[in-house]
């Protein structure tokens, strides 16, 4: 998709890529966007236009990551966005997968043992994601904010190589593979599709936002460690 600019209409962004609705929500924009452009919406809602377009472009285009622009934003903006992203995983996406998955395991006259085992795998990766969110809230985000407020942020370099293997993403990939390649027994095809689509949506969101988290926030954590504060 072409890069989003100040003149791009919000309705074109959403119709071209419906998954951006959730990102727009985190940035303070809800549905009913009329024919507003990025510039007019940011002006009305007093949003930072550069931050707004950069986050959306980073989400939509996998190759897009303007390091200098990203590093120029205040840590509070990025922490606020990632905090809202975590809240979305916790209150919307994980419950959405879980609800459909539970219906799937209860569907049919005979219990499907494969689906029950796969549901346990989902519970494990869900707990791992919730633990990470908890660690973000209690440890990482407050420390990043403290460093930024103390002026340490200017010494922290963006780490373009910080694409560490994410076990949560790997596990979601694995669970999708189990559905696609190894599912046996009786199951409801519609509910299966719903679970797979919900998992794929969660995977994409985590994958895109991890680029921001791993390249911008984890270097703060590394800097803290090297300064002996941890």
């Amino acid at each position: 998709m072409a890069l989003i600019t100040a003149d791009t209409k919000l309705c074109d962004i959403i119709t071209g890529n419906p998954s951006t609705i959730t990102v727009l929500n985190r940035l303070g924009v809800t549905l009913g966007v009329t024919d507003a452009t990025v510039a007019s919406a940011c002006c009305d809602k007093k949003l930072d236009q550069d931050f707004f377009t950069t986050i959306l472009n980073t989400y939509i285009n996998e190759e897009y990551f303007p390091e200098k622009v990203m590093a120029s934003f205040h840590a509070a903006q990025i922490v606020d966005y990632l905090d809202k992203t975590n809240a979305y995983y916790e209150t919307v996406q994980l419950p959405n997968v879980e609800r459909h998955f539970m219906l799937l395991t209860r569907h049919g006259q005979q219990p499907n043992s494969n689906l029950n085992i796969m549901f346990r795998f989902f519970q494990e990766l869900k707990q791992e994601l919730l633990d990470r969110i908890n660690d973000d809230r209690k440890r990482l985000f407050p420390k990043v904010m403290a460093m930024a407020n103390a002026g340490v942020a200017s010494n922290v370099q963006v780490n373009s190589n910080n694409e560490e293997s994410d076990t949560i993403q790997d596990k979601i990939d694995d669970l999708i593979s189990m559905f696609v390649m190894h599912l046996k027994g009786e199951y409801d095809a519609n509910l299966c599709s719903a679970v797979i689509i919900a998992l794929a949506s969660l995977h994409k969101d985590i994958s895109q936002n991890n680029r921001i988290r791993n390249r911008l926030l984890l270097p703060f954590s590394d800097a803290l460690k090297s300064a002996g504060n941890e």
Binding site: L125, K171, D174
Partner: protein, 181 residues
């Protein structure tokens, strides 16, 4: 799907090259011409089949006996030798291809693991991964090198589409490769 690794070790160079040509043209295999059994030994577990002639077989019998199940002896004439699979180089091309096809199909069925996707050895590795062993411990347990363990793990992930140790454990549970705790 990964290619089957075939080694051709023939006294007669032209026969070796001809066999390589027939194998690569008719089957999904990667063929390497070897010069001496030492070269095959150095390849470790990455060898699925060895094609050789009677003369080479007889002169390196100690090497071939432990590898009997994956050795095919090419002969100039049909002989009643039950030590290894036989291929007669005098047969017409269709018969040769037919014989090879039967051999590969039979061997694939023999070596399949309990889930029908992984080989027996890959299933062994998966069972140990699912039991929580690290690569070094798996290598010691199966008496193979760490590199061989890594190759098996790579093949398992490619075949199953599952790469996390946790995902592999749940797969093993689903397919009865390990028992529920």
């Amino acid at each position: 799907m990964n290619k089957t690794n075939v080694i051709v070790l023939m006294h007669d160079t032209l026969k070796g090259l001809g066999l390589k040509h027939v194998l690569e043209d008719s089957f999904n295999v990667a063929v390497t011409i070897a010069h001496g059994v030492e070269a095959i030994e150095s390849m470790g577990e990455n060898v699925d089949y060895i094609f050789t002639d009677l003369l080479t077989y007889a002169s390196s019998i100690k090497f071939f006996i432990p590898r009997q199940s994956k050795t095919i002896v090419v002969s100039d004439h049909t002989t009643a030798d039950n030590t290894s699979a036989m291929l007669c180089s005098c047969d017409d091309l269709d018969t040769i291809i037919d014989t090879l096809g039967h051999f590969f199909a039979h061997h694939d069925n023999d070596s399949a693991g309990s889930d029908g996707i992984l080989s027996a050895r890959e299933t062994d590795v998966l069972r140990l991964v699912a039991s929580g062993l690290i690569n070094k411990e798996i290598a010691e347990q199966l008496n193979i090198s760490i590199n061989t363990v890594l190759t098996h793990r790579k093949n398992i992930t490619a075949k199953l589409g599952i790469k996390s140790a946790s995902g592999l454990s749940f797969y093993a549970l689903m397919n009865g490769i390990i028992a529920p705790k």
